[in-house]
């Protein structure tokens, strides 16, 4: 069993490359279950209802989110219509949407795996949500009972918090992967307790911008310290993510492989 997980899909270039390439990637890598992070899918800022539908027409099983989750305000109301969308669990209740859910994945051999997908936001250099460590701790017993696999998108900035959370989940979660920095890290590994871990899986979108945004706009902002309207970068694109090969007997990751594909876009 193989699980494909793709990093923050950024704007139209990110959505378009998935439309073009996702089916191909899934067949090439014999993928059984696909998760993407969608917090930047609508012009870099959140996920509109229309773009959510568009993405979920592709073979995507779950969309996780992050700090940009509510930037398209309509999602506050429409998120209830999308059982596949998971937003950070550590928003204070009551909050529209859900922070984790269970998804069934039927394998080619007829076996069905129950996958719990969790989305959490870090605290360091991030908005003031509840502590992800203390949010997760009391749920661990219950969640594990109802799932064969637990996959956690830990959406955070600081490497220290991400690594610490990976160790905190080691032996309990199937995999903990980071999102949010939009740059893939090279530290993928299976921790001592068997949990697959990587600090950040990267971004799916324009290569030549600054984490998605037109680079000249960001350089100008850095030089002048004056606000600018952000515009999505154009040009070539990348698909960033990981593939988790699952040992179906043990329900553990046998291999975590980084995916870093680049594509030329016709001008």
């Amino acid at each position: 069993m193989n699980i494909l997980i793709l990093g923050d899909v950024y704007g139209r270039p990110g959505r378009r490359i998935l439309k073009d390439q996702l089916t191909h990637l899934i067949s090439e890598h014999q993928i059984d279950f696909t998760i993407i992070n969608g917090e930047n899918a609508s012009g870099g800022n959140g996920l509109s209802t229309k773009n959510a539908r568009e993405l979920l027409n592709l073979p995507i099983d779950v969309i996780t989110m992050g700090n940009h989750v509510w930037q398209q305000k309509e999602l506050l109301e429409t998120i209830a219509d999308f059982p596949q969308i998971i937003r950070p669990l550590n928003y204070p209740e009551p909050c529209p949407g859900k922070g984790y859910d269970f998804f069934s994945c039927e394998l080619k051999n007829g076996v069905t795996k129950k996958i719990c997908v969790v989305n959490l936001s870090g605290q360091i250099f991030m908005p003031n949500l509840s502590c992800p460590f203390n949010t997760m701790a009391p749920l661990m017993d219950t969640l594990k009972k109802s799932a064969d696999l637990v996959i956690i998108d830990f959406h955070a900035e600081a490497t220290s918090e991400k690594i610490a959370f990976g160790y905190f989940m080691d032996g309990w979660a199937t995999a903990v992967y980071g999102t949010h920095t939009h740059v893939q890290t090279a530290d993928e590994r299976i921790l001592e307790g068997g949990t697959a871990y990587i600090t950040d899986i990267g971004m799916t979108g324009p290569i030549d911008g600054v984490i998605g945004v037109d680079r000249q706009i960001i350089i100008d902002t850095m030089l002048t310290k004056r606000p600018n309207r952000f515009v999505t970068a154009t040009g070539n694109v990348q698909i960033n993510g990981i593939i988790l090969a699952i040992d179906e007997i043990e329900n553990k990751v046998s291999k975590i492989t980084r995916l870093y594909e680049t594509y030329e876009v016709e001008k």
Copy 2:
């Protein structure tokens, strides 16, 4: 010509693995010039005079620093004794030490290359130093005239700032590499203008800690939000960095290769 650059050397485990392996790495990869980041070499906190001497007894040409540079207070006075140490250029003047310097590297073919090594700190989620973009801009003409190669250690947290700085230097600097997050990124590449770039080259030190620190201490800190004394992690170690292959005619990087070595340590 090959240049070896190693990420933040962390504590005794980091210093020890360099003592054991650096000579071997240099000969294996036919390295002509070696730069390390030393801001965490003394127990994670700065660089003591003694440890500076110890490291510079190894075949290291330059030590760059970062936000921890002044944590061993004695270095404020002794840094003047170490021409090989470069601290972030964007500290306000007057400040002990220097933010860049020129180093001669004699190649096996008798040619001597003049290498300018620059150290800069980012501003986002970092201490309030001067803007690295505006600090660098007025120096570009002068520095380039006196050097065959310009290598920049951009010590910063935010991926956006690091990538933007890479593009800002593209076509001018030989290479811009990030340090500070202690996690190597997988985005190494040669930008359009010919500058080699990577968001972070990673850390040289204990693998099983949290960016160098004992992991249980950090998990406890995250759970309790109470202060703890940090202790360097024990166990296996890693050497993280990059190798820049230089085209000696063009004085440009022909290849940037990530180095991610792990070593078992006897208990």
Copy 3:
């Protein structure tokens, strides 16, 4: 009935001026109950067991704390011996100490008032504790049942968070006052619902430093951006705080008066 509340007591100068003047202030203003903030009482950093005892030998009924609460590590163990010490409620559980408690205050006319004192930390520009708004909300019913008066020390940096919390508590709490910035604000008032409010009650300690610290050290730190060891300022001192006049029938504040006393210290 009059309640005296004094802002962050800073170091030895702060403790000493209380020893000299507190009894006098209490009799001058006919005070029935006294609360001080003690997070900086020991050299600016937390509260040692010895200094806690020393302060509680004075006519002080309650000591509230703040982000510095655990800087004297011994307090983690000895706080249990001091029923009068209240630390921020929004530390994750389990945490030594308590975030609120009920205190009996016998008035001169023989009536006894039950006073609930709460300590909360803000989140903006502060350590990552739980949300004070969401921490407080579920406790409101229970606390009010057991107390005649509820007094809240809201230890926070941002004026927006402090004012918003004041309004949030308006009509429920007897008084909400801010601490932490060490500078008294001039916005004391009684909100529409009857809750007394002030953004910050100020600091009790040296006048001529920078929020308690020797001023030249702070200016040097600002100019050089290099770390310095902080030393408590010397010279003249101030006592900052508020006096709440309580309507004993309504159990509401009838008047909130700022106290801003300065004292010359012999050299």
Copy 4:
């Protein structure tokens, strides 16, 4: 000679109360020169060209700004048309507008005073502008030569930075006053070297909001951690500021008086 300085004018309620009351205040307090902070005059976000004109039709001599200065983008171009507008000096050059300027003030006795007004932004918990201490230091000699009085609006969040800057300027500047927190502090005084100082002069605008914004919106934001569109508060208003009485012989402040006026607004 008396100088009136008013804190951040917030939105339409702030502009309107100035239209209604400024002339009266000026005559009541025999004011010779008036400075206001205008960074929030247009709906809380910056200063539009139209609102700048509107304010400068009132007897206002200088408008200082802050971190919101460029939120009305048109001001980037029109600021050149307004010699009375001063924006933070520590924006990187080139930047539209100016960080200080000299203004002539003719007194009733025929004497003309040259007043240098400076605007600086702090760094702590603020956008990454250049260090205000190091920006100011090299200008001190020149500025003082051309001015009888130097008045500095130090727009900053942290009390430590504001107080330290006050001491840094002590004996050189005529007055240093803080803006940005929108809450007036009670620590006005004349420092040892003769410089008048106050940590924050407060806000001119709605009383019953949260630093200008409708309070329920801010409470909701605090409780839900989800973004909200900010709306200016309605209801009663305040004028906050200071009056500096100047000794015309010594060109020093003889008295600094806080102004904290409240006005009922018809519903």
